[in-house]
């Protein structure tokens, strides 16, 4: 019955996102081949590919960093997951409350905005004193950084929900609890999604910050370690892996939300 509303695009549309990375790679190869930039500053892409291959698929012990990918990525994902989870669990409900209730907004906004003005990196020394090096510090930094976009967007989303929707719900006999889950949250979904995506993105940034402090494993740790050993190729591999996993996690978040919520599927 319902028409398929998806737009039709020519085949070239599919390759559009690849153009910029492709051009970048070509430029890189040319720069390396002509030794415009010396190899110890920027290795040839093939060397990167080799190091990346060993890192992801090589057998441990074969060469330095070989085969560490899974354990590093697993550790990093776990830290991001914990930190982001805490940020969502605190930021989302608080944000919604502050968007709907003037009292909560008045109570929170000065504090939140003052804390937000402090760059996340400033917390690092304090976090290291409190939590030591490793898991706890990283999770703390990630949770703190991800909290703000999630909180602020949830508040904005809850505030701008069309009042007619709430009135319509009230006249149809919807009470507060159902109104929250059936009207308020779906109505704010595009903002909630934006907040979650921003929060997850910033989670990766602060993950690396937390891991730079000398934890034994994790993607940030590999980069820091490689810097000290002068392994530029591994630094670049680390950057690419983080870009890749970060992008994947963003897409996974979107797909997951769309699978779970009609409103994410249809309006966000």
């Amino acid at each position: 019955m319902r028409k398929d509303m998806k737009e039709q695009h020519p085949l070239s549309w599919r390759f559009l996102p690849g153009i910029i990375p492709g051009l970048f790679l070509v430029a890189w190869i040319m720069v390396s081949a002509t030794e415009l930039i010396p190899n110890y500053l920027l290795p040839h892409p093939l060397e990167i590919a080799e190091a990346g291959y060993a890192y992801v698929l090589g057998r441990p012990g074969e060469r330095p960093y070989a085969g560490r990918f899974l354990s590093d990525a697993g550790a990093s994902l776990f830290r991001v997951g914990c930190g982001f989870g805490v940020a969502v669990a605190v930021g989302l409900p608080l944000g919604i409350l502050s968007g709907r209730l003037a009292l909560v907004h008045r109570l929170m906004s000065t504090t939140v905005n003052a804390l937000r003005a402090v760059p996340g990196i400033t917390w690092l020394p304090l976090a290291m004193v409190w939590f030591g090096i490793g898991m706890k510090t990283t999770v703390f930094l990630v949770a703190l950084a991800a909290f703000f976009p999630i909180y602020l967007n949830a508040a904005a989303g809850a505030k701008q929900v069309n009042p007619l929707w709430l009135q319509a719900g009230a006249m149809m006999g919807v009470r507060r609890v159902r109104g929250t889950f059936a009207i308020l949250l779906p109505g704010a979904m595009s903002h909630l999604m934006a907040g979650l995506r921003l929060g997850l993105g910033i989670s990766w940034a602060y993950l690396v910050l937390g891991e730079l402090t000398g934890v034994p494993n994790g993607l940030g740790a590999v980069i820091m370690d490689a810097r000290m050993l002068g392994r530029i190729d591994m630094i670049v591999v680390g950057i690419i892996v983080i870009a890749f996993i970060g992008r994947m996690s963003d897409q996974l978040l979107q797909v997951g939300m769309k699978l779970c919520f009609k409103s994410a599927r249809r309006t966000a």
């Binding site: 069309n162 009135q167 319509a168 006249m171 006999g173 009609k262």
Partner: protein
Amino acid sequence: MSSPLRAVALPFRKGRGKILEIERLQKVYPMNGGFLPVLEEITFQAESGELICILGRSGCGKSTLLKIVAGFVPPSYGKVLLKGARVKTPGPDRCVIFQEDALFPWLTVRENIAFGLRGLDQNKKSRKAEVDCFLELVGLGDFGDYLPNEISGGMKQRVALARVLILKPEVLLMDEPFASLDAQSREEMQKLLLSLWQELAITILFVTHDVNEAVILADKILLMGKNPGRIREEIRVDLPRPRDRESSAFMSVSRRLCEALRD
């Protein structure tokens, strides 16, 4: 039109008698330290099954009056009684059709119509049958799976009608519901509303600034004046239905109303 309503029981209440009583309603808004009176001494009654139009120019407080009856806004003084009981909060016994689109954009037409039924105890099968029946009733049989953003303004108002009629309200409150539609759709919607009204025997309070709309629809027209808003005149419209916009009787009523609105 063979009625799809035959398929389901018809719990709409028939029979005469006062259903809605508005008693000495007043509304003032605080302004610059003083008070701005918006409504003054509004008193009227609606018989069960009556179609009443509240006619007035912009800013006469007619929408505020409707919001008070709906329970969205408390009156400053006076009261609203529905079947003798005082109205304080919004509820499914007084459903509203808003002027703007108030459908939930993340739900399909069908899900929008079923929205108010969730939470009532009812099995899925009979709920689906009922939704189908009301889809058919407002002429949207083929559009159940569309999203609100994929259908026209007139169709959205049909969905809005279906989603409240399915709750069997005692009174239907309509706040210039067809004002933003084009002339053809508006006429179609007026026809649809009249046929639903006759079939379901609902009581309707219809706010409008359009004289012809009021004369086409109403049993009784409450003419409102402004500053502050009050009822200037109660006019019975006894023209036989279906009413003909071209007839001289129709035109003389609307001419009279136009003049009354002017001063």
